[in-house]
Amino acid sequence: MIRMVARRLLALVPLVFLVTLLVWGLVLVIPGDQALAIAGDSATPEQVEAIREDLGLDDPVPVRYGRWLAAAVQGDLGTSLYTSYSVTDALADRLPVTLSLVFVSFALAVVVGTAIGMLAANQKGRLTDRLLTVTTSVGLAVPNFWLGLLLVTFFALKLEWFPSGGYVPFTEDPAGWLRSITLPAVTLATAVAAELARQMRASMSDVLERDFIRTHRAKGLRPATIVRRYALKNAAMPVITVAGLQIARLFGLATIVEIIFNLNGVGALAVDAVFDRDIPVIQGCVLLITVIVLLVNLVVDVSYGLVNPKVRAQ
């Protein structure tokens, strides 16, 4: 098990290297002159040239990449072209917001999706199942910006149960944090919960038909024990893989939700940076999210191994 984790971590190194190449390559692909962007419209050609010299923009590509990589490895992702803040600091500021949002959403989606899927599989073909199937179809189809606006209108503006936007750090006020994250998390979680519910329903109803379920019944185990302990562990295997892919999707969708709810997360930062052509910030955001997604996938694979004895044996 530990060896497997170590092996998988090692395998990440070339992958992350490849990602840095692609991320850094943005500089070459995105149109516009960085020096010009920093200098502003009113600068003289001499000023622009000085900035270019300063940034080493005329050096050969491999040298520039090497310089960037060496700094990045030490945690220095450069400076924002606009705010002249360190990109690393900006990310460190924003990351807790995005992580809170994504992980609360994911936890919500897993709990709700699993529960719905299990219930539907248990009631397969009956009214409850059909109602849940309709619900999950709606959950999958509803666009999340629309859902977000709906939730804000109703629960924030009308009922005033939750704030309509803004983020409260957990360390400042845990209750406030929860209130600030609830509506965004529900918005973000809905589609993923629906997807997981569908997967769990399919997987669980497949498992419930298998011979070994009959063995558990022949042993006299109680139906609730059979479903929650034995069937669930078997049914979880394919769902874990799907859930892992959903985390990557959540990081992508988080951007829209951050903007709707005015949360200063990494996604919102990246969008601003794109409008500003603030390349170091874009690079930092993409690199950070990619590395997080890779690590999450690793965690998913490891937990898959924990429930599947055939993988663990290797």
């Binding site: 011979d211 070994f212 009959r214 019944r217 022949a218 006299g220 185990l221 109680r222 139906p223």
Partner: protein, 334 residues
């Protein structure tokens, strides 16, 4: 024949099971009756599809709840009626007083749990045994069913066991609470011949030691002759013959049984005799009169295709469902 007072372990009487089909309820088991005494082995014999598994599952209360129903009859265990018990009451009986092992050892164990857990869960459920006590007992049981290195193997997963070894694990699970009755539904059919023999010997040996009654289901005449005291032969959902094993083999009273015996490899000869020509009818297209008549050599037109035979006593302890049972001279093994 009232429940209390009789000393039979299991009494099945007039059992009828129906499955839901597009054309309504199809009766796949019809008027099946038999008893099993304490420590006795009853062989339930018949071609595939005749209703042996359905009968076994009915006794276990494991029939699919919505697509099937017990339409008639009673199932009494030590005098207590099981038909009509709630799922929760039945679950107290299953794995505790009555256990079952199945035809498919490869798929009957839970792939996601260690075999030790699968044995100890039944002990914890019915005996309230502690976790560590149940584990110790699991090792003993694995040892009892002949699994080498039981103390190590208890922590292994089913996929590391062969088919024969998995069936041994199934037997360990079934016997964990020392049930009064073991139902073995074709437990050796999926195994190859040498393993089949070992499992049969194991079952016979365990029965000697533990003294439980056994309902042994098979389509294999050869297996039946080795293990059972009495035999019930089923055809198309009905019992067609019922007697001691010797009687059935030496003096069959039903043409279907005679046909099955003729399929056995001849004792000394080289030739394997013919099978029974024709197909088993499905529950929705049962022939009128005697259900066996389209395949019966002895059938008499105007009688067998008109009058349904009852399961009558031909002589003491020997019943057959044949209109001509008293007239026919049928061949047993010789």
């Amino acid at each position: 024949m009232t429940g209390a007072g009789t000393d039979a372990l299991l009494e099945v009487e007039g059992l009828a099971v129906e499955f839901a089909t597009a054309q309504g309820w199809a009766r796949v088991v019809d008027d099946v009756s038999f008893t099993i005494g304490h420590g006795e082995t009853l062989g339930l014999l018949g071609e595939s599809g005749c209703g042996k598994s359905v009968t076994s599952l009915a006794v276990m209360g494991l029939l699919p709840p919505r697509s099937s129903r017990i339409a008639a009859g009673s199932i009494r265990l030590a005098g207590r009626e099981l038909r009509g018990l709630s799922e929760s009451q039945l679950s107290d009986v299953r794995g505790n007083l009555v256990s079952m092992i199945f035809q498919e050892p490869m798929t009957s164990l839970d792939p996601a749990f260690r075999v030790g857990e699968q044995i100890s869960s039944v002990l914890r459920r019915h005996r309230g045994t502690s976790r560590s006590g149940a584990r110790e007992r699991a090792v003993e049981l694995l040892d009892l069913v002949g699994i080498p290195d039981a103390a190590q193997r208890v922590d292994d997963y089913p996929h590391t066991f062969s088919g024969g070894m998995r069936q041994r694990v199934m037997i360990a699970i079934a016997l964990a609470c020392e049930p009064d009755l073991l139902i073995a539904d074709e437990p050796t059919t999926a195994l190859d011949v040498t393993v089949q023999k070992q499992i049969l010997e194991l079952l016979a040996d365990l029965q000697d030691r533990l003294g439980m009654g056994v309902l042994f289901v098979t389509h294999d005449m050869g297996v039946i002759s080795q293990i059972s005291d009495r035999v019930v032969v089923m055809y198309a959902g009905q019992v067609v013959e019922q007697a001691s094993t010797e009687e059935v083999f030496w003096h069959p009273q039903h043409p279907y049984t005679e046909g099955l015996l003729a399929c056995l490899p001849a004792e000394h000869g080289r030739e394997r005799l013919r099978g029974i020509p024709g197909l088993v009818p499905g529950p929705l297209d049962l022939p009128g009169g005697c259900r066996f008549h389209p395949r019966c050599h002895h059938a008499r037109a105007g009688l067998c295709d008109v009058t349904p035979p009852g399961l009558d006593e031909v002589h003491s302890g020997h019943r057959a469902r044949c209109l001509l049972a008293r007239d026919l001279e049928l061949r047993g093994i010789s």
